[in-house]
């Protein structure tokens, strides 16, 4: 077991994963990938930590008001200082996608707004065709575990139920957001390490 674990850890150190967005999906996905010892993470977000984020995002009371990229970087370092983290504190524009994520082995779409999701996905599909892309769609609310799935289409992986939209009566909450964020991290591992035997 320890030999396998050592080989897996050595393998993961070779790879770089880009995460677009450091909200509920991005912060939890980054934590999972750091714990398993990914080599490098590139994280992007323009927002600051707000009290209302703490119901699902991997931040703490004493980080309220801080830039999400800086706060997350600090948390990741406390978990696993071997992970090299590069942070971009800015909104993601189409022209940023290639320079920021071009060298990543896998890209994780972890944005909140569906228009932003669409912009990122379309830009990656046209400018980085073939790049493995793990997206999330449909994770608001609670319960209904079995509706959450991963759908594969060529190099695009869709995690979530593709239905539950966040709104006033349907807030994104820690359990379901965390499940989908970890499904994304789990899919990244499968892409990098191959399917489990």
């Amino acid at each position: 077991m320890s030999k396998i674990k050592g080989a897996m850890t050595d393998e993961l150190k070779k790879y770089c994963v880009g995460i677009a967005g450091c909200g509920g999906l991005g912060s939890n996905c980054a934590v999972a990938l750091s714990r398993v010892g990914i080599g490098r993470l590139i994280i992007v977000d323009y927002d600051v930590v707000n009290k209302s984020n703490l119901n699902r995002q991997y931040y703490f009371i004493d980080q309220i008001g801080r830039k999400k990229t800086a706060a997350l970087m600090e948390t990741l370092r406390r978990i696993n200082p071997d992970v090299r983290v590069t942070a971009y504190d800015r909104p993601l524009a189409p022209q940023d996608v290639l320079p920021v994520f071009g060298n990543c082995d896998v890209i994780v779409e972890a944005l909140d707004d569906r228009e932003m999701k669409r912009m990122l996905i379309e830009t990656i599909l046209s400018e980085l065709p073939g790049k493995p892309l793990v997206i999330a769609s449909g994770l608001a609310g609670w319960g209904n575990n079995n509706a959450l799935t991963t759908r594969t289409m060529d190099n695009v992986y869709v995690c979530g139920d593709e239905t539950s939209e966040a709104g006033d009566d349907m807030p994104p909450l820690a359990p379901r957001v965390g499940i989908v964020a970890n499904m994304q991290a789990n899919q990244v591992l499968e892409i990098l390490l191959g399917a489990m035997k």
Binding site: L25, K117, R118, L125, G138, E162, A166, V177
Partner: protein, 67 residues
Amino acid sequence: MRINLNNRYEEFEGEQMTITDLLRIKNFSFRLLVIKVNGRLVRREEYDMTVIRDGDRVAVVHLVSGG
């Protein structure tokens, strides 16, 4: 015609249809979609002009907010 829609084979009447036809027939009324035909991205402004034929592989992803 028979196409592979989201990894499942489905039969449709006729020899061909546009993406717009497909969305109407399948009742895909979500405003935000990402569509690939045979692995290639089809943008929203191309839905009326892009023709699907027998044997094509079509992927439709619904995008909803939340994260």
